[in-house]
Point group: C2
Chain length 233, copies 2
Amino acid sequence: MKIQSEPFDAFSRLVFPDAIAEQSRKRFAALAKSRVLDPARGKPLDASVSSLVFISSGAVKLVAHASAEREQVIAFYFSDDLFILPEDGKHSFSLQALQRSEVLIFPYEEFAALAQKDCAILRYLLDRSALSLHRSREKTIALGRKTALERTASFLLSMAERIGRPRGGSVEIELPMSRRDIADSLGLTIETISRQLSILRGDKVIETHGRAGVLIRSCGALEQRSGSLRDAA
Amino acid sequence: MKIQSEPFDAFSRLVFPDAIAEQSRKRFAALAKSRVLDPARGKPLDASVSSLVFISSGAVKLVAHASAEREQVIAFYFSDDLFILPEDGKHSFSLQALQRSEVLIFPYEEFAALAQKDCAILRYLLDRSALSLHRSREKTIALGRKTALERTASFLLSMAERIGRPRGGSVEIELPMSRRDIADSLGLTIETISRQLSILRGDKVIETHGRAGVLIRSCGALEQRSGSLRDAA
DNA sequence: CTCTCGCTTTGATCCAGATCAAGGCGAAGA
DNA sequence: TCTTCGCCTTGATCTGGATCAAAGCGAGAG
């Protein structure tokens, strides 16, 4: 139990109200499984039962396997993100690390049942779910109605917001995912991603440094290309 | 308050535990705005603030406006569905009736704050959110990785499950939405939807009767065409 | 420092679904 | 019953992004 105490503490600080009883905290701790996910290892975490996952550190992708050879990245998650890993249904889901990541896994039903004694915890879960839902809906818009360039621009803006470091008027991003992951997330191919990035580079909207480094030189220019409503004037 | 008592009662029966105090029920009732949405009228309900919506009767679509002339149907909702109508952000959202519909609208923040006194209500909300999220993720898979025929088949199966009437081995559906709505939901055009339906009709998988009537003659055959994992053998 | 393997970029061609263009046909009113 | 208007279907053509193909290039190993 010593090994997983550090990730659980981080989770505890974020999710639990200060006033939670020590005994109650221990019950949650007993539900938690702590895991270190590594990108090298194969399929690290699949879901026979619905789980609640907390990313203590690192970066992961939630992947749905539509069929052999066809996979869709449902979402990326980073440090301190909390989300529901659905059980396999019509499609199978798995969680894969993009870098070495520490995660905490709770069985969803048991967690919710336990949380039902403390409304503040349920409320936190509800708000996180609402955020997940909102992001998922944004993705729906992107996949349903946006062009390749718009999707790429939207993706970069989203990453800037979630893991970017502001540098004056610019934002620096270190992308933990490969071009393939981005493509599988946006419903495009790696070649198309690469081409869109080249276009943005050519337009001086971004710079790329090596495989992972991206510098957004103008968020405004990116937003104009992201297909959000601007020309509604 | 007399007018809206019937829709609220339906909501109350579904969401509240039997034991809820009458006084507490009244507080929720005071938050609720009851509306009748009509397809004829223009933009019936937009969202300056995040709302919780309950469909008492009828059928509605949640629409996101990516930009002028480009809209994406995020989801369809039917009787007894409860969901979050997000406030306008990068995209603007609106709720539009497909038929005459009675809906109940709560401001999300106030509702959640009030519900925080009763964990059972929060739990119900959380589970409904999880369902919305699951459906949204299914849509992500459809839009990201499925062909036009697979999307159409998935759509019909989803409708069969939600508003279909079993007729022996078949399922009868009365579609409340137009081809345009379906197209805007699946990220396709009306012509493509029409063509896919013709293909399914030609393959004897479905029959169509008039504009709205669909008879699924073989759910199995539809599932095979829906691009879920089956050929993983 | 150099090699090398796997990721990424760029180029050429192809195709599923969009777009453009006519007709059908069904529901509501006369 | 007939008309009419607005969906829906079907056909012809076009195109954005996929697929196929071939170099670049960068991080880790030796």
